[in-house]
Symmetry: C2
Subunit: 455 residues, 2 copies
């Protein structure tokens, strides 16, 4: 049986024989007895296996190596040890799959860099057992939040022929034989008969669904061919992009706040062991940070007022805050500390924001809100969308966008246009926050970054 | 409020004033009164709005056009009409977004081909309201099935540097400026420093997670650059690939059967209106087909015995059944009819199956099982994986595979190898089954096929 199933009903198994299959994470041998730290990965907490000379095949058991797969038959007992409540006294053990001494994942401290180089083995290490378990839970939390509230899950297209948002940061997708290209590229001969690339956002397609189902969300991979090697950038990452009709900027901020708290609480409720581990080894205070977030009130303040606060602050800025301009990482940090919690910064200068955002009456700002989280920076970016056909097309022309290619998107404003809003959240950025693991490469199973596409 | 929220508590709203925002699907006018078929898309069933000369702005209401977005305030009443239980008697209505007469989605029968050409509007049509609602529910059913049973959701990489399985059918992903390539391609200069493509399967990576967490599943997009224009092929589609350690072929078939029944029941329970509609307009008998599946026993029979049955059949085959060879569509159909239900065909000839499948003792077959479903054909393909290092590497060499590039995969058999099995299910193929809509282009929001990458 799997450890998870045993654990669910563990009190009923005390004194009974159980058969378990899994791997030896650590084997500590004494002369006449031994302890095996055992896991099948279905529960974060390992099971201690105990054996001694009375175990039916002591010589074989004591020879078992770290990393081996075994099947054990034994009796579950309450443990007198300090580190576990239960243990299994082995009656017999069968070696299923041996593991040589050169096994790279011996039970000792490894650097995260080294573990990345053996990404196919690192999910067996405690840190990644915790991280990928939380990743899975958080994904389910997101689906649960939206589905319970009647949102329709949309799989936005991955391959796209439109590159309006991602100019210059798009991966190209092709079946043309590259070594046969000589100068001009004949896209008519390519698979789709036109130039195609990997999506940088599913928002525009989500808007088409929001004007049919009112409440929709995407949750899928997105791509940026950005040549930056930072701890928070990956070329391939997952995004959640909800889009809601008959919902304005205030409404979408309500949803963002409620969703984030729901997801954090969902993980707090279901990953106590994992979070306790990460609190110890990844980010001290992690559990308190998450618990605090759930009960905190998110501040809402305009970009203009933020600049005023920054200007009035008794701080020597590296980048001087300026009305009408973007804010820097140091400003984000300051403002969440100033308000002791998450902050929605609203009504951004239109020139630094996207074309589709609703233009405010002042002619200078748009109805956008970025959510800044203590210790993370921007976690979500949302906005009310421009619902007015004329204003939208005028803005697109100002930005020299291809109107013709975008006629379907513009038509949403022609055929029953309505107030609608949405936001985007990078899933891995959420995971960095939830796990306290600070490098995006460590919350993605097989991270893709410049020069890195292994496994 | 949204229709979905109204519906949940509808009896309590009878006689009360409600405010709704949504779209006019159809407007039927009489001289002194009118009916508006109204929906905000949060529930499959529309709301009938009624108005007459007593409504506060009759002239404005009667002028409202199909496709327009409106906000109505009115009183909910039990309806005496045959087609609905409730209706809203309009007190006042506000036009939110007008809709010109050239609106392509007028309330009349449209061909599916035409609707594909307006894929950004078709989710507003009843057929696609049903289909994409079921798509969303089925996705949630799959996540629920696996998460409730302790599986870890893995996001397998989309961009991959390994092309072992997809030779010839892989899209290439690049940031090289194609028009500057002259003959030799210098992949060192490409984004990843090597040739990269879009994944054709996450299975191999899922195996790395299964040997850490025992029970895992992927659910993400996969790609095939196959130049085929059939009703069941798309270049971009979503796959579910569960992988389970300490589970053999019989075990994985149990999981496939249980999962499929769970998903079908989940949809039957939650999409009664949608399925009733599809039963009428897409596939007669759909609901009965699904209900029957849930209680049917899936047959398990070897490929060899299937061939014997086919040879003994009193049928003039287009393709003669042959021991040791693949079977044709007509054979799949016959065999599900023969057994009056789903059939797992097991122990396939090894030469027509993948390298990673467990080689049986007979030296001729592999421990693979394809699930054949009446009316659909192959829905899932699963197998026990070859866990023996020597057998696996020997097979890979026979097939002239690049051993070095695959060392990480091979190493899973070196470091604590264990019995493990998995399967793959194409999500869209499941949806074709669930909805009775027979073209894959109609169960994908924005389908990608040869020559087609719109929106």
């Amino acid at each position: 049986m799997y450890l998870r199933d045993l654990k669910k009903d563990i009190e009923n198994y005390v004194g009974k024989e159980v058969t378990l299959s899994g791997w030896i994470r650590n084997h500590r041998r004494q002369k006449d007895f031994g302890f095996i730290d055992f896991s099948d990965g279905t529960d974060f907490v390992h099971m201690q296996l105990v054996y001694d000379k009375d175990s039916s095949n002591f010589e074989n058991i004591t020879a078992l190596k770290n990393g081996s797969a075994i099947e054990v038959c034994g009796v579950l007992k309450e443990s007198s040890g300090a580190n576990q409540d239960y243990e299994v006294y082995i009656q017999s053990a069968i070696l299923l799959g041996d593991c040589p001494d050169d096994y790279p994942l011996q039970p000792k401290a490894h650097s995260r860099e080294f573990l990345r180089s053996i990404a196919y083995l690192r999910p067996r290490a405690n840190l990644f057992q915790a991280v990928f378990r939380i990743r899975s839970l958080a994904a389910m939390a997101i689906h649960t939040y939206f589905q319970e509230r009647g949102y329709i899950y949309l799989n936005a297209p991955i391959i796209t022929g439109s590159d309006c948002e991602g100019a210059g940061e798009m991966f190209e997708v092709t079946t043309l034989p590259l070594d046969k290209i000589k100068g001009d590229v004949d896209y008519k001969k390519d698979f789709f008969g036109k130039k195609a690339g990997l999506t940088v956002s599913g928002q525009l397609q989500a808007e088409t669904f929001a004007t049919a189902f009112s409440k929709v969300y995407t949750f899928g991979p997105t791509f940026r061919a950005e040549d930056s090697n930072t701890k928070t950038h990956a070329a391939e990452f997952w995004m959640i992009e909800p889009e809601v009709a008959f919902c304005d900027l205030e409404g979408i901020m309500d949803i963002e706040e409620e969703m984030l708290k729901f997801v954090v609480q969902y993980v707090l409720d279901r990953a106590q062991d994992e979070l306790a581990f990460l609190d110890k080894f990844a980010e001290k205070g992690l559990v308190e940070k998450l618990t605090t977030l759930v009960s905190s009130k998110f501040t809402r303040i305009s970009h203009e007022d933020v600049i005023t606060i920054l200007k009035d602050a008794d701080v020597k800025w590296e980048f001087e805050p300026v009305y009408g301009e973007d804010i820097a990482k140091e400003h984000e940090r300051y403002i969440t500390e100033y308000f002791h919690g998450p902050v929605f910064i609203t009504n951004w200068p239109k020139d630094i924001k996207a074309f589709y955002m609703k233009q405010n009456e002042d002619g200078k700002t748009v109805a956008a809100a970025d959510l800044e989280i203590p210790g993370v920076g921007e976690l979500m970016g949302g906005s009310e969308r421009e619902a007015d056909y004329t204003k939208l097309i005028t803005r697109m022309k100002e930005l020299h966008m291809d109107i013709e290619e975008m006629d379907w998107y513009l038509n949403l404003r022609k055929y029953g246009s309505c107030v609608h809003s949405g936001f985007g959240m990078g899933f891995e950025r959420l995971l960095i926050y939830l796990t306290g693991v600070d490098n995006i490469r460590d919350v993605i199973a097989y991270p893709r970054t410049p020069g890195n596409c292994e496994f």
